[in-house]
Symmetry: C2
Subunit: 305 residues, 2 copies
């Protein structure tokens, strides 16, 4: 069985986009529950300005409050040196640095030029000095909601800059759900060919229904790491029309059906997913939590006549 690594991002990418603040104690309980399911990595929070993302203003409290389970990497989104310092002070395992492949989305999302973002990364690296590993995310890697098509070379070149800066991993993010399976196969193959030893993660959204199709295409092209969000929570507040990330339990269910080893207890994951509507106060897009697993058989007596 091939191993596939699933990274859970709902606590950051999901909770930041919720209309209401999720109480700190609930965030901690949620991350702890996820830790026990066997996911490889959990993006716990974001060390951004509390003014910019009020929903994650309790980043330090959450990081200090959670149980750190061996085998799980605890990561956080870091926008700048101040964020890196805050994250290091509470022992985050991995800092996730983000910029966009497209200039206009970088400006809209981060309020700075791409050159400015790269300069900021260098400053962060000086502060970190090996005290945490670094993952670099490339937003709008499969298309920009303002510019449209993003050339493959631009993404590959930016990934090369990330590796030169000393980043361990690279995440290609389909920030506003513009990727399609053929494109995903092509870019995944190009990345694997150019950077065979880099840790490559794919981050898909299901905005136009293609989320799991893109994950399958990426798998087929040699990818083995995926971001996903429990219940399909999330989206980008700066991306008009965007709905959620691909759903963790639906992804893990598909991988299990196809015989991949994710090390995740799907029933435990589904139990956490089924509590999510109560935590966020609304229904979530995930489907396996409603329909049940492929392997959940029914009795003929259940059939209405």
């Amino acid at each position: 069985m091939s191993r596939v690594y699933v990274h859970e991002v709902a606590a950051r990418d999901g909770f930041q986009a919720e209309p209401d603040f999720i109480p700190t104690v609930e965030k901690i309980a949620f991350v702890n529950a996820l830790s026990r399911t066997g996911v490889s990595k959990i993006e716990v929070t974001s060390f951004v300005s509390p003014k910019a993302v009020p929903n994650l203003r309790d980043a330090e409290e959450v990081m200090r409050g959670i149980e750190r389970r061996p085998g799980v990497l605890y990561t956080a989104l870091i926008p700048n040196v101040r964020g890196a310092e805050r994250a290091l002070s509470v022992g985050v395992d991995e800092l996730n640095l983000v910029m966009s492949a497209s200039e206009s989305h970088n400006q809209a999302n981060l309020n700075r030029t791409k050159a400015h973002s790269l300069q900021g990364f260098q400053e962060i690296m000086k502060v970190v000095r090996g005290r945490a590993s670094i993952n670099g995310s490339i937003s709008t890697a499969f298309g920009c909601p303002f510019e449209g098509n993003v050339p493959e070379e631009r993404v590959v070149d930016l990934a090369g800059r990330y590796l030169e800066l000393g980043f361990r991993g690279i995440t290609l993010a389909d920030t506003t759900g513009m990727a399609h399976p053929k494109q995903v196969a092509g870019l995944t193959e190009a990345m694997k060919k150019r950077f065979p030893s880099a840790e490559l993660t794919l981050h898909f959204h299901n905005t136009r229904g293609m989320g799991l199709a893109n994950a399958f295409a990426a798998l087929h092209a040699g990818a083995d790491r995926f971001d996903a969000s429990l219940g399909g929570l999330g989206g980008c507040p700066f991306a008009p029309g965007a709905t959620g990330n691909i759903c963790t339990e639906d992804l893990v269910h598909m991988l299990a059906a196809m015989g991949y080893d994710t090390n995740i207890d799907l029933d435990a994951l589904l139990a956490v997913a089924r509590k999510l509507p109560e935590i966020v106060g609304h229904d979530v897009p995930g489907q396996v939590s409603k329909a049940g697993k492929i392997t959940d058989l029914h009795s003929l007596w259940e059939v209405e006549r």
Copy 2:
């Protein structure tokens, strides 16, 4: 550009599962609007007993009322000789005959044994005598909600029986959304190898989020015909937990993004899809109608600051 044929099933598979009867005049207007989008085939209705499926009790009126557009094949679901006679009397182009690959689902859905279903098909063929083409659907081709796994050979063997009976096309239906992409690739390849000249259609449901992933896997394995339902309407009333078919506009959008030629005007299709919630009185699962197409770009001024 490769040609892919998309068959629209909402008027039958969708409307039959709605809680309320859709007025005949609205059904006719809906089918006429679909005819103008460029879809290859429309499953208009079902000639079942009005007692069994009261929502489609107006089958003759709908068939007589619609405009028959050249290039569009008008098909209907036929359960028995009586249904075939009714369909022939109103000039249905193609009769779609259905049975399940699994004995228990055939019993639950059609209230007869598989042997009895095959015998019924022979009787129907005697009545039709070339006055319409015949498509045979195999329900639970990718798994049965009662029995679980359905062996590939059982599906291929049943398809062989269909062809011996003189059916032109074969549809493999994932009736309750149990298919996964690897299985789809395997069964599609097996069918293409065994019956290279048969017209093969894949009918997927998105019950567990894998609908478009399965369509992509099938395409990759050589399939070029898909059933889909506008808005993702539908499901099987006898399949516990099942939600809708794959969504036509989301499928066509994915195919267009990947460069396939479907002959469908996606904007016209989206215009019809956006009227669907009004017709059925509730929200529908389709996503492109809400998020817009990949190619619908946004202005930076739309971004909230």
